[in-house]
């Protein structure tokens, strides 16, 4: 679950210009010196409107950020372990933030337990150059959580079965 996660996005609720901007940038930003102006020309609107709408979407969190999305695998981070932890619900927000700040962790979420099969409620995706490095990072998380972690497991990925590109409903 990388941030490259394909996202199918409903758009009826979005103002038309925002929807058109999402569609126009879903494949990426133009590599032109004035990319926002270039988009404005494409959409037939004023550059100022494009920049204002993009800024508004950044401000309200519809755009998480604007920048490069590195390919973990190509950069040598070929090992990927989903570490899962059983921590008390009333402490999870506090420790989740700490775990999420580790450089090796790309995503950190609270998800539901499925008892008795699945006691874990904190999911932290850990990347490393090899399994040993991932396990070392998992030890770091274990140290950080201390007694708060009642149990944990690491699920290594062994095969990508499907990975589709970004996809937004038009």
């Amino acid at each position: 679950m990388s941030e490259a996660a394909p996202e199918k996005i409903a758009n009826e609720a979005l103002p038309d210009i925002d929807r058109r901007l999402v569609l126009a940038t879903q494949a990426g930003l133009p590599l032109h010196a004035r990319p926002w102006h270039w988009l404005a020309a494409e959409l037939g609107v004023e550059p100022g409107l494009v920049m204002a709408r993009i800024q508004a979407m950044l401000d309200d969190g519809r755009i998480r950020r604007i920048g490069v999305l590195p390919n973990h695998y190509r950069l040598g981070y070929v090992a990927n372990g989903m570490s899962v932890w059983d921590v008390p619900d009333d402490r999870i927000a506090e420790v989740g933030e700490q775990v999420g700040r580790l450089h090796s962790v790309s995503h950190c979420y609270q998800r539901p337990r499925h008892l008795p099969d699945w006691p874990y409620n904190l999911f932290a995706m850990v990347h490393g150059h090899d399994r040993q490095e991932v396990m070392h990072e998992v030890e770091t998380i274990a140290g950080l959580l201390g007694d708060l972690a009642r149990s944990h497991d690491v699920l290594f990925s062994t095969r990508i079965l499907k990975k589709t590109g970004l996809r937004i409903g038009g």
């Binding site: 679950m1 394909p6 926002w36 604007i66 920048g67 490069v68 079965l161 499907k162």
Partner: protein, 147 residues
């Protein structure tokens, strides 16, 4: 990949300016030129070192729905179930993991109702219990990868 490429990867995972000449403004901080930055990003995209360059959208805030789901697939049925699951376009990605829950996939739909419907259909189609792990809270998702 040289030092400038590394700095671009490490420092430009967010914060790309919303300005008239954003590459020039970003390049200044990186100690390079506008044209060099554009060239580097293009090369790293072509080489596959970068998956993407641009705005990263927040699916739920755009009105969509996402969830992580898992199946316990009997080993002898693994390929069959994989094809069944992958045949749904709502399955965005799917990983095999080492666990009794050995198939983990992300569902992406336009509405939360469609998400529930997909979970029901995948359960029906595979004859397996679908364990649904919707995100309840998201903690700091950082600009983490450093090279």
């Amino acid at each position: 990949m040289d030092d400038l490429d590394r700095r671009i990867i490490n420092q430009l995972q967010g914060g790309f300016p919303v300005s008239e000449r954003p590459y020039r403004d970003a390049a200044r901080k990186l100690g390079t030129s506008e044209s060099e930055l554009i060239t580097r990003i293009r090369c790293m995209l072509d080489d596959g070192l970068l998956t993407r360059f641009g705005p990263l959208f927040h699916a739920e805030r755009m009105g969509g729905a996402l969830s992580l789901c898992a199946l316990k697939v009997p080993e002898e049925r693994f390929d069959e179930v994989m094809e069944q699951v992958n045949s749904f376009p709502e399955v965005a990605h799917n990983y095999r993991r080492e666990h009794e829950m050995n198939m983990w996939f992300v569902l992406a739909t336009e509405t939360p109702q469609q998400l529930d419907e997909m979970i029901r259909r995948i359960g029906e189609c595979t004859g397996l219990e679908v364990y649904n792990f919707p995100k309840q809270a998201e903690y700091y998702v950082g600009l983490n990868l450093q090279v």
